[in-house]
């Protein structure tokens, strides 16, 4: 049995893209503008984040699928499951269950990375903090409060995803494996 948390899920495999999110955001925001389309900063930010987190989640799930043992698939074949059944019940669901913790941390990182989109003046927490800072000149206080807000947010995201995991992965809960 391959353990969850083995090579497939290590940080090196789960975080693989070779350009910074900041540059991706710039390319999408300014790139779409040069194509002659007018997109709001918020929409461009969402597109960039979707592409970014999509790539990461894809890598994580791939690692999960690869970690399903060959013998499991052979066993499914012996039981006479169809290809679709095998794929759904034996490969995909256990794979997603196994990588769910990695996906969770990726989503928390995504939430934190959304702060980067303030650089193209998308309206989010950091952008608002920047505005307050330039209004009041109380930079340190502003960013400390913002930092605390982000901490709370990441806690909330974690708890929500954990509850979601409890609700969705019933089998795993029965087996008593931690999510």
């Amino acid at each position: 049995m391959v353990r969850a948390g083995s090579s497939g899920l290590s940080p090196s495999t789960s975080r693989r893209s070779a350009t910074p999110l900041l540059v991706q955001v710039f390319i999408i925001y300014f790139g779409i503008a040069t194509l002659g389309l007018h997109v709001s900063a918020n929409l461009a930010a969402v597109i960039a984040l979707v592409i970014n987190v999509g790539a990461y989640t894809c890598e994580i799930v791939r690692a999960g699928i690869e970690s399903v043992h060959k013998s499991q698939i052979e066993a499914a074949e012996c039981l006479g499951l169809s290809r679709v059944q095998t794929y759904w019940h034996v490969v995909l669901r256990p794979a997603i269950e196994r990588v769910y913790p990695a996906v969770t941390s990726q989503y928390v990182l995504l939430m934190l990375a959304s702060s980067i989109t303030s650089q193209i003046s998308a309206e989010e927490l950091t952008a608002v903090a920047n505005r307050i800072q330039s209004d009041t000149f109380r930079a340190f206080e502003t960013y400390i409060v913002t930092g605390v807000l982000y901490l709370l947010l990441s806690l909330v995201v974690r708890i929500c995803l954990w509850l979601f995991g409890l609700a969705v992965f019933v089998r795993r809960r029965k087996l008593g494996t931690a999510i």
Binding site: S7, P11, A18
Partner: protein, 217 residues
Amino acid sequence: MPTFSLVHLEFLLTAAQWTIGLSIAAFVGGGLVGFVVALARISDLRVLRIAATVYIQLVQGTPLLILLFAIYFGIALLGYTNLPPLIAASAGLIIYSSGFLAEIWRGCIDSVPKTQWQAAECLALTRWQRMVKVILPQAARIATAPTVGFLVQIVKNTSLASVVGFVELAQAGKLINNSIYEPFTVFMIVALIYFAICFPLSTWSRSLERKLNVGRR
């Protein structure tokens, strides 16, 4: 209207050197701090363990951007108003990478099989000997691939140092774009340079992973 020329490319390449320099500073500094935090995280003293956990959670729970702002303006608040952006940027990146490296390395130390700890104890090694001669060499083997992988993360995150006015690759791209307004060309080249730095690193990490074959023990 000027277009993208060799001068701009030269400027970008100079800025790329700063990106690399900043990455090295962040990795070395973050590695030192992170190692200490990782050891504190598994220490027998409850206080140390809790302190290290809180530190890691704090660093991992706030965006690097906010960390950089807080440090930059926080140090100015202490009276050092003419702080070079380089110091603020490296301080922020060191704190950031120490938080993540500590957690990665803690995981690696934990994944050394329990029997190895017990065997070291049976041989009557002291705590220090057990750590240095038995656990750490094995943990280092496991840690190599994820650490190189995280190095890629650091290189990419140096792009955020631009917010405190440090001219590295992303900031240089922004400056050039402001003067010639060819966003697609400029940022594509910036992205290519990042790719040229990061891709060899992640390929290296992948081959290390395969070579050491950590996953299948």
